[in-house]
């Protein structure tokens, strides 16, 4: 084990898979000579050459569509969006082409493609550049939606995404790139299966389900609450599609309480989906209503003071957990 940043763990995953399979290639804006807008693809063009690390024009719909076509021919493209906010101009390729091709071609065309890039607010980039798109893409059957919270998961899940024969929406926490964490050695070749939640912290009083950017804040709050005698069990689903609700339900049966914490808006989406499954499948085990801590339901403001209010904060996480424990 060694310590790596989330960013470098992703870089290793891409590099290892490109070595392993010559059909894997990378395409996107500034992924080559600029070394990636967020430096995830640093050093790859030197290692694999411009045929496999392709700088594209600023034309998301175009290169996303090229990627889908390449996947239909048997290649395994990794399409980087500079941020997921820009995927909206390519959404027809992701949803109508990538996600539907296998079904519409009666199984003739697999689409082994990974769409990846930074997700959620990057702090003070304004309302158009602060989207967390988990809810959008998780709504469509035909796509896997993966959102790692740690460096280790980032690497293991990206390797899985590249090897899988289906289109994967791979969301990276923009503010998580610099987070360090333990990652197995390169020769360990750890691949993390989709649909397996990870219990990040064991506890007995309340189950907190979280992923992506708020993950770090939740663990800090759990640590603070421990000093107050409150034991939080933190579960990271790791993939929102497929969702490992079994692990969540088992935990809720133990703790009798559940709080879902995520960064994006509360209306619809994976948080509501998790609440729905918990109330149905653990109904007799609930001692309090299932609660959510999310961003506020407004377009993201630019002003930092306002932005701080909107983004799900440690304080909101803590207050929501206390409320589920009838302590606030």
């Amino acid at each position: 084990m060694r310590e790596l940043t989330y960013r470098d763990a992703l870089n290793e995953a891409i590099a290892e898979e490109m070595v392993r399979d010559p059909n894997v290639f990378l395409m996107g804006e500034e992924v080559g000579y600029y070394q990636g807008a967020y430096k995830v693809t640093r050093g790859l063009i030197e290692k694999f050459g411009p045929e496999r690390v392709i700088d594209t024009p600023i034309a998301e719909s175009g290169f996303a569509g090229v990627g889908v076509g390449a996947a239909m021919t048997g290649l395994r493209p990794i399409i980087e969006f500079m941020t997921w906010n820009f995927s909206f101009v390519a959404i027809d390729q992701i949803i109508n082409s990538a996600a539907k091709m296998l079904q519409m071609s009666a199984g003739q065309f697999k689409i082994p493609i990974v769409f990846r890039g930074p997700n959620a607010t990057a702090r003070q980039v304004g309302s158009q550049h602060s989207h967390s798109v988990d809810a959008v893409y998780a709504n469509f059957p035909g796509l896997y939606v993966v959102y790692p919270s740690t460096a280790r998961d980032a690497k293991g899940l990206l390797k899985m995404a590249i090897r899988d024969d289906n289109p994967v929406v791979f969301l990276e926490g923009e503010t998580l790139y610099g987070q360090k964490g333990e990652v197995p050695d390169a020769d360990a070749d750890e691949v993390i299966e989709f649909g397996k939640a990870r219990i990040a912290r064991e506890g007995k009083d309340v189950t907190v389900v979280t992923w992506g950017r708020p993950y770090v804040g939740v663990l800090e709050v759990a640590h603070e609450l421990e000093a107050e005698g409150i034991s939080c069990e933190v579960i990271d689903p790791r993939t929102l599609r497929p969702l490992d609700h079994g692990t969540i339900i088992e935990s809720v049966k133990k703790t009798n309480r559940c709080v879902v914490v995520h960064e994006h808006w509360p209306y619809g989406g994976p948080g509501a989906e998790i609440v729905d499954r918990v109330q149905r499948e653990a109904f007799d085990h609930l001692d309090s209503p299932v609660l959510r801590a999310t961003n506020l339901d407004v377009p993201m403001p630019y002003a930092v003071g306002l932005e701080n209010e909107v983004i799900v904060s440690k304080d909101r996480i803590k207050q929501t957990i206390l409320k589920s424990l009838y302590k606030s």
């Binding site: 109904f283 007799d284 085990h285 609930l286 001692d287 009838y326």
Partner: protein, 447 residues
């Protein structure tokens, strides 16, 4: 032709009733005057008897439902009739009873665990606390509608089912009084709540056994639904104290002659097995005094005064969860033995809630006697529209002056509460003087 039958109005004052028990089942044939169901009204459990013959085709409301008169409760018709349209019509209209509280719906999920322990533990109906043999039609089994729904988390409901915990005995500390898991800690360990579930409610309610652990933990009050009777008591007595201008007159009488008379009468009645009480004699004496001071046998009715030509004495009877006032009609004309037997019989049925409303209505004067509890003197609340109520205290041993010497004597104090709108101070005083005269010379009752 099948028709929807509404809840019958079984007493003039019935504003709502609780369907306590279905005696007939769906499909049962009904003959005229057959007992269909028992309905708990303000004060009594009433029999609802069939007016026509037919078949009870459909029961629309479960036992324990509280409704207003004429709200649909059943469909009665001929065997085999198609009643689907009527059922639909009734269920459409069934939203009407919703103001009777959420318990109007058959909340089996919440009700089942609650009533489970009562029957399981073999103790009679812990709800109302009427531990003294509630009859089958007793109100005890059906919680009052407003509080029939217990707010509890799903986990708590499951635990209550599994552990036979009566949730009505548990105090919720969650939002809006919701019972949450931590509230069951005591219950699960078989302390306060478990005991409450096993013992009749009345004792558990006021027992401080929960604190027997020796700790100084602050215990929450035990919450109990308000019964129909309690509602009536609350409404009528509040109305009385707020609208009737009470004033009070107290008099002290020599009780020795009364005790002597009682002894003589009981000796003579010994062979018949009848035994009269001091109270029986007081009822008779009050009735005769009312004949002599008829201005006191009166009611204020807003636009007119009623001076009653009959003497009907309401006698307050304590029952396990409240009090009732059965009426001894024409007490002035009845003999003491007859009055005694009647009071015994009425009180017995009052305790079993088997009095009919008309047996508790239209008294002209009330007597409340707390002498058996050693109460020396007290002031009673008038039972409107009656004009006065006599509060009788205990017979005391006291030194009295007789013929210039101090001797041991028996004294009894009584306080008359009068409605000043119809009974003035002098009238009340005159009445008490007349009563004192009779009590101190009981033989004058035969005059």
């Amino acid at each position: 032709m099948a028709k929807i039958v509404g809840l019958p109005k079984l007493s003039p004052t019935m504003e709502e009733g609780t369907l306590a028990k279905w005696v007939k089942k769906e499909g049962d044939a009904l003959a005229v005057d057959d007992l269909v169901a028992e309905v708990e009204t303000d004060k009594a459990t009433m029999e609802w008897r069939a007016l026509d013959k037919g078949v009870l085709l459909k029961i629309l409301v479960p036992e324990g439902t509280t409704l207003k008169p004429d709200q649909p409760v059943a469909i009665i018709g001929n065997a085999g009739e198609d009643i689907s349209a009527l059922v639909a019509q009734a269920s459409g209209g069934a939203s009407a009873p919703s103001d009777a509280g959420p318990a109007a719906a058959p909340e089996s999920g919440s009700r089942a665990p609650v009533s489970g322990p009562a029957s399981g533990s073999g103790s009679p109906a812990p709800v109302s606390g009427s531990g003294s043999g509630p009859g089958p039609g007793s109100a005890s089994g059906s919680p009052a509608p407003e509080s029939g729904r217990v707010a509890a988390s799903p986990l708590v409901r499951k635990l209550a089912r599994e552990n036979d915990i009566d949730l009505r005995t548990v105090t919720g500390t969650g939002p809006h009084g919701r019972i949450i898991k931590r509230d069951l800690d005591g219950a699960e360990h078989g302390t306060a709540s478990k005991a409450a579930a096993a013992a009749p409610k009345s004792s558990a309610t006021f027992a401080f056994s929960g604190g027997a652990s020796g700790s100084f933990e602050r215990l929450e009050p035990v919450r109990q639904p308000v019964s129909q009777m309690r509602k009536v008591i609350a409404r009528r007595l509040t109305e009385s104290k707020q609208t009737v201008p009470h004033f009070y007159l107290t008099i002290d009488v020599d009780a020795q002659p009364l005790l002597d008379a009682r002894a003589v009468i009981n000796t003579q009645l010994e062979e018949s097995g009848v035994k009269i009480s001091v109270n029986d004699l007081i009822v008779k004496a009050c009735a005769i005094a009312l004949r002599r001071v008829p201005e006191c046998n009166a009611s204020f009715m807003g636009t007119e005064l009623l001076f009653h030509q009959v003497v009907d004495i309401s006698v307050a009877v304590a029952v396990p969860d409240g009090l009732l006032t059965p009426v001894v009609r024409d007490a002035d004309k009845k003999g003491v033995a007859a009055i005694s037997a009647e009071i015994k019989e009425l009180a017995g049925r009052a305790k079993n809630k088997k009095l009919k409303p008309e047996e508790m209505q239209n008294g002209t004067f009330s007597i409340s006697n707390l002498g058996m509890f050693g109460i020396e003197n007290f002031s009673a609340v008038i039972n409107p529209p009656e004009g006065a109520i006599l509060a009788v205290g205990t017979v005391r041993d006291e030194p009295i002056v007789k013929d210039g010497a101090i001797v041991a004597g028996k004294r009894m104090r009584m306080t008359l509460s009068c409605d000043h709108r119809v009974v003035d101070g002098a009238v009340g005083a005159k009445y008490l003087a007349a009563l004192k005269k009779i009590l101190e010379a009981p033989i004058s009752m035969i005059v």
